[in-house]
């Protein structure tokens, strides 16, 4: 299950961060997302180490915490997407698929003429679409 999804801007500031847990752990998830930005930086700055993921938007598993797995995605405009999931057995393809759909939703949201680039995304339509994508995570491949 996806517990948190975040869009992080150029100054590593959160543009959109949404947790999907019942428990009251928003703050903890914020910290996880924030710390994972270090790994994104590391990967982006040392592309030679990450080898095959060069020139790819999907950054792969950023780091495993005990209870979560954190995946990253970097758009061509250098906006970062961070995904935190509790599923410890996740298929890469699912995550890629998720990010692809999430990216499409993000592009639509920032294409809104009333959206100011660099500001937080407050669109309700975007939020609804994101929660739909999150709910269908892992199912889509089965269909």
């Amino acid at each position: 299950m996806i517990v948190c999804i975040a869009v992080v801007g150029h100054q590593n500031n959160p543009l959109y961060i949404q947790s999907f847990t019942e428990a009251d752990d928003a703050l903890k998830l914020h910290h996880i997302v924030h710390c994972s930005l270090d790994v994104v930086d590391e990967r982006v700055n040392n592309p030679k180490k990450s080898g095959p993921t060069l020139n790819e938007t999907f950054l792969g598993l950023l780091y495993p915490t005990e209870n979560y797995k954190v995946y990253g995605y970097l758009t061509n405009t250098k906006v970062k997407f961070i995904l935190v999931t509790t599923d410890l057995d996740v298929r890469d393809a699912d995550v890629r698929n998720f990010f692809r759909r999430f990216h499409a939703a993000y592009v639509d949201a920032v294409s809104n003429p009333f959206h100011v680039p660099g500001k937080k995304i407050t669109s309700k339509v975007f939020a609804e679409r994101v929660s739909a994508i999150v709910k269908s995570f892992g199912l889509s491949s089965a269909v």
Binding site: D24, H31, K49, L61, K119, K120
Partner: protein, 1237 residues
């Protein structure tokens, strides 16, 4: 000291190991006082870990080393021990001085009965026993004397040693299957004791191979080394055999699965692995440790007679030990990825095995220790191994970046330790009766089996171990747990992790560690450290706009400030929190768990805001319950907050100041708009605003119209301007705009610096003014979707408004006139009149500044000069400034500034009333022709006695050309119709640089011509030739001529003067002298400045050196100056031979149609030395006018030089009849020998 602990992949290749390998690891982890960690130390030690790797026993931490034993001949033990230890691989030794001590080797236990239940998995002392007490090889040392005598009497020999000991020795080693080496120690002089047959006999008796019987010669260097090497080879081989046999023996049991319980399975695997390690067979060791680990894993959940809690504790302890061995082997062989994967597996396996809830803290402690130990292992091995993540492994299982760094594991160790702390506290609170444990806890000790505990009863001298029930164990564990305080360890671990992450440039993760650390400090009420750490963390969250995290940190910081009773910090943090853009909207139901400040909501912000202002106004004093300190703001402790451009409090109060115009005249009013904005959630009413400028007399105060009494409170300086605004209320995100007029009399920059808001009697916020044009976005609010408002009503001003205005100078009402009189002439002191005339301003303390600047920017110095500054180098210099001092104003010369430098001048101007004028002259001298720019500026006060007034400046500039006035040239002329033969002229080819040659003792004309190059008429005063050397080398006439009536020289005209030169000395380089021409400007200038009458300029022209030589021949033509038609006249050619030789001269005369000629036509004649030959012709002119005389060509044979008379010198004028001349005219013509061209 570094070690390499590499499993040899190819067993034939010796693996290099440092000699002190046994102790190397312990050097890496220096021992500390174990008691230290138990103490509640006041300061946390960063190198402080409670249950780190160093608490493992030595034998576990170090790779096993084969053990041998030396018996007998104690004098050579030192030598052998050192040698065995220094070899590769090293061998440890137990040295027993004589055979009776052999009983120290523990005898073989009787075989265990299979029916007997297994009490535990590992014996606690098994490993150390094999490391230190059971040797693989015993080397029995005999002195050669002992084996002397007849080999047949061997038994007696043996008896001599001590038969009993020998039997014991053999029994011991046979029982344990220990190998034997016999060493015969002999001196090199006593070789005969060790004869072949004796040795054979000895070998047979001791049942050893020949290679295991070694003759040891300690007193010969070479033989000693050989025998030591032989001994080492023998011992090492035998040790290998021993460990292999031992391992094989147990392995057989494993293969047959002939064990009664899982415990034995694990134990056997472990033993085989250890024996393999002794043999340095790392691969096998690794495999068997893995088998042991997996077998142990299977034991989880199997019921045994051991109580379940203790069972799990034991299994985990064993798993920890096995995992440690595995990780060590993997890491030291460079298989970092495998080690990490293994560790991941290990923690995943056991994380869920929490055990009973009462002692769940033990589980967390255990898990924390796993991470800590792995971190330490990784840290020590990373020095050796460059870990590059291998690409071959599956991408999903590939360890991520941080897993290669110890920081990651330290962080998790800390977090589990924290977990342990929490659960321990919970467990303690659940069982309050744990305090007084009937003394039984003290008697609980570690039992003989690893990971088990037992109670020790003492019955007199004997001790009995009694196993514990789970209940007892839990109480024991709780009691033990209570003795330690983990906070400092957690802090130390986090600090380590934080530093490591910072080194990896992972600042966010480092900050997260910092946050945890600060929370731990906070938990132990170390507010100082907590605040400092929180502050660092907060700055990162602020920068990156992580609001929720920032909210939490600020909440903690608020509590810390309360803890250290700093009202200022408390209010700063509170206000920052209140102004955070936390707007709990529908998207995110705000989290409850957001630190001590409560949920991040708008209402909570409002609450914090109110609380802060209550304290700030002094209306409430926050009392802290526990400490008797309080946060106070009153007249003794006024509160002063300063907000600058980088302060996080800019969101609380932002002050923009904009002048409506960029420049203003002094005294003229200008509008200024002050815009204030706050993001605080509720309205703030300001009692008084003060606006401060860099010109303090412009400062003013804006009072709140609704609170008129407040203005009286604050101490307003007398004379200060006070305005009143109808209301000063700041609403959230709304601009409060105030526009006022401002008036400055001072020219220069007028800049608004501070806007100071006073709220209540003791609370002041000093806000640095910003310009709207250069305003930065508010740091955190810029990411929010906020209604953008402009700070001023005029949108143009909002984008371009500046907080500073330029106050201009008043307009000058004084004329500065530079009288120009055309170009200057080089050499003269050019006079430039300057006039200052007042038109509307009186002039006080006037100063005139003069600057000379090269128009081409090259400076006034000539470019080649690097030499010290001197007037000669200057092309143009300011020589003097003179002025007319009015007679009546007898000013003291002291207050008259006059400063003159070559390119700069400063002169004070006397005070002038309106309408008066003043003039002076600048005297500028040109040394070389050069155009310059003259800048003159006048600065003055237009009112006297007010130094605060700004000076008024008038500037003028003028370009002046400097020109050369006169150019002088010269040439030499020979006397008319006389030609000396100058040999140098014949010899040399025509050369422009050639020195002119003059004939010795002969008269030569020097014509000096001076051309006026300037544009003004000049008056020439005199011309002279100044001799350089005062000698009689040559006579020049006239030396000096003063013109009685000065010659006016109009532009372009050329003036000529003739001198006669008679060289008297034959020399090749004669200095003639310098022509000096004195001149001055013509009268027009003179009328204006009468004092310039006496001033004249001198133009000099140095005449080049000449070559003087004696001409061998001088030819002169003689004929009358004119002739009359038909009248014959004599025309003679005189050839004067000045040499001592006879000269042969050829001559010829060409006929001319204009004359009838009589005389020799052509011939060769000889001229005697120092005599003159005259060729004489009579001519009768036949024509009229200027006629060419017949051409005479004279050639000297000796010098091959001919004389060709010039056409000009051979012309005669023929009159039709004899003319009549006036006598006076004749005279005139003769004296004035001016030759007109």
């Amino acid at each position: 000291m570094r070690i390499e602990y590499k499993p040899a992949i190819r067993p034939t290749q010796p693996t290099p190991i440092c000699s002190t390998v046994a102790y190397a690891l312990s050097f890496l982890f220096p021992h500390r006082d174990p008691c230290f960690s138990q103490l509640h130390s006041s300061a946390p030690n960063p190198n402080f870990h409670s249950k780190s790797m160093e608490e493992y026993p030595d034998e576990l931490r170090t790779p096993p080393i084969a053990l041998s034993c030396l018996v007998g001949c104690a004098e050579v033990h030192g030598l052998i021990t050192a040698h065995l230890h220094s070899q590769q691989p090293p061998i440890n030794t137990i040295a027993l001085p004589d055979f009776s001590k052999i009983s120290l080797i523990p005898p073989k236990k009787p075989p265990r009965e299979t029916s007997e239940p297994v009490a535990g998995i590992f014996r606690r002392d098994w490993l150390s026993k094999h490391r230190t007490r059971i040797p693989a090889v015993v080397a029995a040392l005999f002195s050669s004397h002992d084996v002397s005598g007849d080999p047949a009497q061997w038994l007696q020999v043996k008896l001599r040693i001590n038969h009993f000991s020998y039997i014991l020795l053999m029994a011991t080693i046979r029982g344990r299957n220990i190998k034997l080496v016999v060493v015969v120690v002999t001196l090199s002089g006593h070789k005969d004791y060790t004869s072949e047959d004796r040795m054979v006999a000895l070998r047979k008796r001791a049942e050893v191979d020949s290679k295991n019987l070694i003759i040891f010669v300690p007193d010969d260097e070479l033989e000693l080394r050989q025998s030591l090497n032989r001994l080492w080879t023998a011992v090492a081989d035998l040790a290998n055999v021993y460990y292999r046999d031992e391992g094989r023996k147990i392995k057989v049991r494993l293969e047959k699965r002939s064990f009664s319980s899982m415990e034995l399975n694990v134990r056997y695997c472990f033993k085989v692995a250890v024996y393999a390690e002794f043999r340095r067979d790392w691969l096998e060791a690794l495999k068997l440790y893995e088998d042991a680990y997996h077998a142990l894993r299977e034991m989880v959940g199997m019921s045994t007679k051991t109580p379940p809690i203790q069972r799990i504790v034991e299994i985990k302890t064993i798993a920890e030990q096995l995992h440690f061995k595995l990780s060590t082997l993997l890491l030291h062989s460079g298989k970092v990825v495998e080690a990490i994967t293994w560790f991941r597996q290990h923690t995943a396996n056991y994380r869920s095995l929490m055990g009973s809830p009462e002692v769940i803290f033990l589980h967390w402690e255990w898990l924390s220790r796993q991470y800590l130990v792995f971190a330490q292992l990784l840290e020590t091995s990373s020095a050796d191994v460059q870990h590059v993540p291998s690409m071959v492994s599956v991408a999903a299982e590939k360890p991520t970046e941080w897993e290669f760094h110890s920081a990651y594991y330290y962080q998790l160790a800390a977090s589990y330790l924290k977990e342990k702390n929490v659960s321990l506290e919970f467990a303690l609170s659940m069982s309050e009766d744990v305090g007084p444990i009937d003394g039984s806890a003290e008697s609980v000790v570690a039992s003989a089996y690893l990971g088990q505990f037992a109670r020790l009863f003492e019955h007199g001298d004997t001790c009995i171990m009694q196993s514990l029930t789970d209940d007892e164990y839990v109480r024991y564990a709780l009691a033990e747990g209570k003795r330690f305080q983990d906070s400092f360890e957690i802090i130390a671990l986090l600090k380590r992790s934080c530093e490591a992450y910072s080194n990896l440039k992972a600042e966010r993760t480092a900050a997260y560690c910092g946050l945890q650390m600060a929370k731990e400090y906070f938990a132990v009420s170390d507010f100082g450290n907590a605040k400092q750490t929180f502050d660092n963390v907060a700055s990162l969250y602020r920068r990156e706009g992580w609001l929720l995290s920032l909210w939490e940190v600020l909440g903690y910081l608020r509590e810390c400030s309360r803890g250290i009773s700093s009202a200022k910090d408390f209010i700063e943090y509170s206000l920052e929190m209140a102004a955070l853009p936390v707007t709990s909207d529908a998207f995110e139901p705000s989290s409850k768990d957001c630190g001590p400040a409560g949920p991040a909501t708008l209402s909570q912000r409002g609450k914090i805001h109110e609380e802060a202002f209550e304290v700030a106004r002094g209306e409430s004093e926050l009392n802290l319950k526990e400490q008797n300190t309080e946060l106070k703001v009153n007249s003794d402790y006024p509160l002063y907050l300063e907000i600058d451009l980088v302060s996080p409090l800019r969101v609380v109060l932002l002050a923009l100041v904009a002048f409506h115009q960029p420049v203003v005249k002094p005294g003229a009013p200008s509008l200024i708009t002050i815009s204030l904005r706050s993001q605080l959630p509720t309205n703030v009413e300001i009692d008084q605003l003060e606006v401060q400028f860099n010109q303090s007399e412009c400062n003013f105060i804006i009072g709140n119209g609704k609170k008129p009494h407040i203005a009286a409170i604050s101490n307003i300086q007398p004379g200060r301007r006070v305005e009143t605004a109808p209301s000063l209320v700041l609403a959230t995100n709304k601009w409060l705009r105030l526009t006022y007029e401002i008036n400055s009399d001072h020219s220069g920059k007028l800049e608004c610096i501070y806007v100071i808001a006073r709220i209540g009697p003791h609370f002041t916020i000093c806000c640095r003014a910003e310009s709207p044009a250069s305003m930065n976005d508010l740091p955190l609010w810029k990411f929010e979707n906020l209604v953008e408002t402009i700070p001023t009503k005029d949108p143009g001003l909002a984008f371009s408004g500046q907080k500073a205005i330029q106050v201009e100078e008043p307009d000058p009402q004084v004329d500065l006139i530079l009288g120009s009189s055309g170009p200057a002439l080089v050499g003269e002191s050019f006079i430039l009149p300057v006039t200052i005339s007042s038109k509307g301003h009186a002039v006080y303390s006037g100063e005139l500044k003069i600057n000379l600047v090269d128009t081409r920017g090259g400076g006034l110095l000539s470019p080649r000069e690097e030499e010290p500054f001197s007037a000669d180098n200057l092309h143009v210099e300011l020589v003097d400034i003179s002025c007319h001092v009015p007679e009546d104003q007898s000013e003291a010369p002291s207050d008259k500034i006059q400063k003159i430098q070559p390119s700069f001048g400063l002169i004070s101007v006397p005070s002038l009333d309106v309408g008066e004028s003043w003039s002076g002259q600048l005297k500028i001298k040109w040394n070389r022709p050069k155009p310059i720019m003259l800048y003159v500026s006048l600065g003055y006060y237009h009112q006297s006695g007010e130094p605060s007034l700004q000076k008024v400046h008038v500037h003028k500039s003028l370009q002046i050309e400097g020109k050369t006035a006169v150019t002088i040239s010269h040439r030499y002329l020979l006397p008319f119709r006389q030609d000396p033969l100058l040999l140098s002229k014949i010899k040399s080819v025509s050369d422009p640089d050639q020195m002119p040659s003059l004939a010795l003792n002969d008269l030569t004309m020097l014509i000096v011509s001076a051309k006026n190059c300037s544009e003004v008429p000049l008056r020439l005063l005199s011309v002279s030739i100044e001799r350089e050397e005062d000698n009689d080398a040559c006579a020049i006439l006239p030396q000096h001529e003063e013109f009685r009536e000065s010659v006016v020289h109009v532009p372009g005209e050329e003036f000529k003067k003739v001198f006669t030169v008679i060289p008297k000395l034959n020399c090749t380089r004669l200095k003639i002298g310098t022509v000096c021409l004195r001149w001055q400007r013509d009268s027009r200038v003179e009328e204006q400045f009468d004092f310039c009458d006496s001033a004249y300029q001198v133009t000099k022209h140095r005449l080049p050196d000449v070559n003087i030589e004696l001409p061998p021949l001088v030819v002169s033509l003689e004929c009358p100056p004119h002739a009359t038609l038909g009248n014959p006249f004599r025309y003679s050619v005189k050839i004067h031979n000045q040499t001592e030789f006879l000269q042969e001269i050829k001559f010829s005369v060409a006929d001319s149609q204009s004359f009838v000629l009589s005389g020799p036509h052509n011939d060769t004649i000889f001229v005697l030395p120092r005599s003159t030959h005259v060729l004489s012709f009579m001519l009768v002119p036949l024509g009229l006018g200027s006629l060419q005389l017949p051409r005479v060509t004279v050639t000297s044979v000796r010098y091959s030089a001919g004389l060709h008379t010039s056409p000009a010198s051979s012309i005669v004028f023929v009159y039709p009849s004899k003319p009549h001349f006036e006598a006076s005219d004749m005279k005139e013509t003769r004296t004035n020998s001016v030759v007109a061209e």
